[in-house]
């Protein structure tokens, strides 16, 4: 009989293999473009999981970090910076922004922090809208160069898809390693009880700040890949609505779960596309689905999968 960790490892490899086979099934058109957006959202939501899922801090500023990463990349590429340097630049820009937002605000709790992050998102949006000579204002930035490494340029949705699968795999692996490190345990302890964590010698403010900045880096790198693969960015892709959607993805997927974060992001990106045939009614069904999930499985999809897995294990042992 397979041990649980062996089973988990096999599942991860099977998921990666299935993801790699997807372009063979759907080609390089619409479906793969949606898959690319789903993978980008998954990276951003994985980042949100650090601060909200593991550290317990409500953050509605993740879409703003996503936008900052995208704009940093687009502007750097327009100035002739090699693409390879742009993920680093995007990460540096969002870390700086994360620090500027995090240092004065992470002593705040619950809805006070939520309000501050909403305000941060709005400030970023307004700067993008009004700093037109640099950001292109509400018209956005067009003709952004694509991913190019050592003279080799990625073109088409399929090549970008594989880059995104690789990036998401690395991001998930890094999150898994961090979760089981001292930093990860400090994050969980901070979420469970800040007072108890402080009494155990954990600097909770520093822990929250670290989680905040790691989450921002995930969003920044995703923003970098978004700008390079779509070739156009505008403020309407990084609004407060997008921030709420990212939070919904995390809640639906399962806060605190890596697999849940990815599942939530992928399913809530694909679901509206699958429900397009319903026309304007899809929003009603979508909303009802979200409510049903929160009522009947408050732990998100991750808990449903976990309970199915447990049931299968019990059945296996029983037989």
């Amino acid at each position: 009989m397979m041990l649980p960790f062996e089973r988990s490892r096999l599942t991860v490899w099977l998921v990666i293999a299935a993801a790699c086979a997807l372009p063979l099934l759907v080609g390089g058109g619409y479906a793969l473009q949606v898959a690319n957006i789903a993978l980008l959202n998954a990276i951003v939501v994985l980042g949100l999981n650090f601060i909200t899922g593991w550290t317990g801090q409500v953050n509605f500023g993740q879409a703003a970090f996503y936008g900052l990463g995208a704009y940093t990349t687009a502007i750097a590429l327009k100035f002739g910076v090699p693409w390879l340097a742009t993920p680093i630049l995007a990460a540096a820009a969002v870390m700086l922004a994360g620090l500027v937002l995090g240092v004065p605000t992470l002593r705040l709790r619950s809805y006070y922090l939520a309000m501050t992050t909403i305000g941060f998102g709005e400030i970023v949006r307004l700067v993008i809208v009004h700093w037109e000579p640099v950001t292109g204002g509400t018209s956005g930035l067009r003709n952004i160069p694509g991913v190019g490494i050592a003279g080799f340029e990625l073109s088409g949705a399929i090549q970008h898809y594989f880059l995104l699968v690789a990036t998401l795999s690395l991001a998930a692996l890094a999150a898994h390693r961090l979760r089981h490190s001292a930093i990860g345990r400090a994050m969980i302890a901070t979420r469970d009880s800040e007072i108890a964590a402080e009494l155990s010698g954990i600097d909770t403010v520093r822990t929250k700040l670290t989680a905040f900045m790691i989450g921002a880096v995930y969003a920044g790198v995703a923003g970098c890949l978004y700008a390079s693969s779509i070739h156009f960015i505008s403020p309407d892709s990084f609004t407060g609505t997008q921030a709420v959607l990212l939070m919904t993805m995390l809640i639906m997927g399962g806060m605190g779960s890596i697999a849940g974060s990815i599942l939530g992001a992928v399913s809530l990106t694909i679901l509206p596309e699958l429900l397009r045939f319903l026309g304007q009614w899809y929003l009603v069904l979508y909303g009802l689905g979200v409510i049903a999930m929160i009522v009947f499985a408050p732990g998100g999809m991750a808990t449903i999968i976990a309970s199915l897995r447990d049931r299968a294990l019990r059945a296996e042992r029983g037989s």
């Binding site: 619409y30 473009q33 204002g137 505008s234 397009r276 304007q280």
Partner: protein, 387 residues
Amino acid sequence: MASSIWKRFILSTTMCAALSVATQSSMAAPAACTGPIKIGLTTAQTGNLALLGVQAKNGVEFAIDEINKAGGMAGQQIVLDAQDTGASSTDALNAMNRVIEGKPLAIFGSMISPHVFTQTEAVTKSETPFIVGATNAKVTLQGSPWLFRIHAHDGQLADLVPRYLVSTLGKKKPGIIAVADDYGLGASKGIEATLLKLDVKPAAVASYAPSDKDMTAQLLEIKDKGADSLIVFGRPADVALVLKQSSDLGFKVPTIGNASMVAQTTLNNLSAAEADGIYGLGGMIPQTSTDPKIVDWSKRVQERYKVPADNFTVAYYDATYLLKSIVDKVGCDKAAIKDAFAATKDWQGLLITYSTDKVGDLTHTLGIYQNKGKTPVLVSTIKETGY
């Protein structure tokens, strides 16, 4: 023997000539359209831009129903594949990729410029004629030979609104207030540039966020700086608030702006006193026409959709009929349709004629309207500078 050679020569020459004529005539014949013709449409059907997107869909849908009832396009029925873009550019790209996968003969795009910017690359690669109503002047400057615009754009308004205010209404110190989105800010900058050319300096320039409900601070600043007139650029919902608050503040100066100033949605939220005298420039709206044909058309649209047709309904309706006239002539060859769109000259639509310029803009005539109480009246039409 010699006569036999001559006979063969004459016969073969005749056959060659006949073959050549047949080939030429088959090349000139329209590419056949087989089966139902699929037309794509991507506009906002949900979210805060749905009011605009629905008008475009109504225009296309209404025209297609009429065309299908009258025998179709090039003898074939039209099938519309309409996809919702929502309010985000990412969703707009998804919607477009879905439409492209259905291999439509032509695609009608949104009037929201960032949506069109994000879609243009994909449509250009698919080599499908792309007809949009997006109002940002830069939309047709992207260099895509497949992109055509059927509606008036911000560049035209930014030029004509201040010219009309200064030259015809004789005002020399206007205040400018615009919504801080792609539409308003782009126009606001253009207006300032035109005023500069006319040697007029605005008293104050202000903006507000699309979701703002209180614009009194901006209006008081404009009033305090002694503006003798007001230029307003925005969407119907926020323009109604600007006009109402301006009236409440006792700031009653000649006011002019885009078509939202005379749109039915704006007028529904104003009293007759608040609306009276305000000018609006923009695409042609059907309500002011006294032509029985237009009156009947407006009535039929209103009966079917329960909302009055606006400038976008007219533009997209005209675009659908223009596409039909082209396909009837050149058939279902996309490149030929693109070339015919590019060569359009003086094609008569519902209210104006359309001619394609070198960048792909088809509309060069705008309407100047003034509210008489809550009823917009067409003062005159005005041509884009250079037309």
